[in-house]
């Protein structure tokens, strides 16, 4: 029996895009069908391929942002900043923004970090900041 022992390791935040095994198209978050060629993905890997996971991080450009005070139950903060970015590979994503006075179009660097603690689960996500 193949056991995934990584699930017992300490939480290491990482966010993955997935790569279509047929045409190589990258997408985030993982779709169930390739937008480009229609290839199916099977998260279990039992019937079809589970697709290769590709860590998504590094340089990105800020397309839009907000400083949000209307936060949901469970996040006890006065506000959080959120941004939409475009990575160098053309993929886009939403994530937490650490820059207090952002400017649309600014260059940022994305790293994966803890973005939410749901009881029993640490959630990894994108955290955008100024390089360096």
């Amino acid at each position: 029996m193949d056991i995934d022992f990584s699930q017992y390791e300490p939480f290491k935040p990482v966010v993955y895009a997935v790569k279509c095994p047929k045409c190589g198209t990258l997408d985030y978050p993982a779709p169930m069908i390739c937008k480009n060629c229609g290839e199916r993905r099977d998260p279990s890997g039992a019937i079809f391929s589970a697709w290769e996971k590709v860590p998504l991080d590094g340089k990105c450009k800020l397309l839009g942002w907000t400083k949000l005070y209307a936060l949901p139950e469970g996040i006890e903060k006065k506000y959080l900043l959120f941004g939409v970015v475009e990575f160098e590979n053309g993929l886009r994503a939403i994530g937490r923004l650490l820059v207090e006075e952002p400017k649309t179009g600014m260059e940022l660097v994305s790293t994966a970090g803890l973005v939410r603690e749901i009881p029993g689960e640490d959630v990894a996500g994108f955290i955008f900041d100024i390089a360096g």
Binding site: G64, T66, L68, L71, V84, A93
Partner: protein, 399 residues
Amino acid sequence: MRKAAIVGIGHTVFGNLSDYDLVDVMSFASTNALDDAGIRENRKIIDQVLVANMGGGIINHQTGIASSLVSRIDLEPAMAELVENGPASGASAVKLGYSLIASGMADVVMVTGGELMRAVTGWVATDFVATLLHPEAEYNYGITLPGFGGIFTRMYMERYGLTEEELSLVAVKDHENGSKNPWAHVETICTIEGICNSPDAKVVNNMVADPLRMYHMCPVSDGAATVILCALDSPKMKYFKEKEPILLNGIGSATDTHCLHHRKDPLELTAVRLSAERAYKMAGLKPEDISFAELHDAFIILELAISEEVGFFKRGKAREAIVKGITRINGSLPINTSGGLKAKGHPLGATGVSQIYELVKQLRGEAEKGRQVKNPKHGLSVNFGGFGNNVVTTICSKE
């Protein structure tokens, strides 16, 4: 295809109804519609009930709501189903009701949308609405719908040069209309001085999702609304003699990507455009034929952006319309005559039905003093689900 008319409408006040039961609130609007249609005694002529609701299961811990409503107002053995399509549940239910008539499965359909969100705190309600976002790529971050409203507003302002004062004019107009609507959640007017220009404005009108402030977004509301549809060729039309039937002339919907970041241009609301094109095509009308509109201004930027996508104004030009007063009640194209979601309120499942209620009210000439559009022929509503990923456009016309 069979044609259908709206033959009865009902509404409850929107606001904090948390002392009441969800199905009782829906029943109140439904019974108002039975009375309006003049069929309380003959109510069993209703073949089908559709209920639009998003949060009954999550917030109110109630399921099987459509069956419950039927029983509460003694409509058995009518067919009954629940329609959940996020904040567009209401207009989706009307669309499906029309489809049942068009297919011949039903002649008379009652559509009731309702929501009871004030039963929980604002934070829980905000979290509940956010469950419609992508769970991994959006919801997990703690971003909420106002967050998307903020991102969208900033992008729009940066591209088209919209100012905060111009944006705030939408709220001023909506509050003015809402203050004359007895069902509206927000009864007070707001002024450009009070929410934008006074030295106190930044505190009184606090920031919620930069650059969106409190008076730039809808309140959390409870309430319900009902419309009753009847096939025009049905012998049951004989029961509806009291009110002028209003034609459900066109209805269309469309979807867009679940994640906002998948849209090539996040400012293009493709589902709005496509749903409107479908509705115009069905009605045989063009944007210039529309006399007035109810547009889903959960965040008031959406009134401007939607009005452009449905073809009323060119992209980036809706700001000129609000500044010139074109969309005010006495302008050439009044928008959100009910007060819109901004002032009337936004009980999710009720909203789409309430917008169509308003179209009927205006087309019948029954709107209250000071908010009746002059001689309207065709009204259009846009009910916007998710952040534009599922949108329904409806056109109602005087026969």
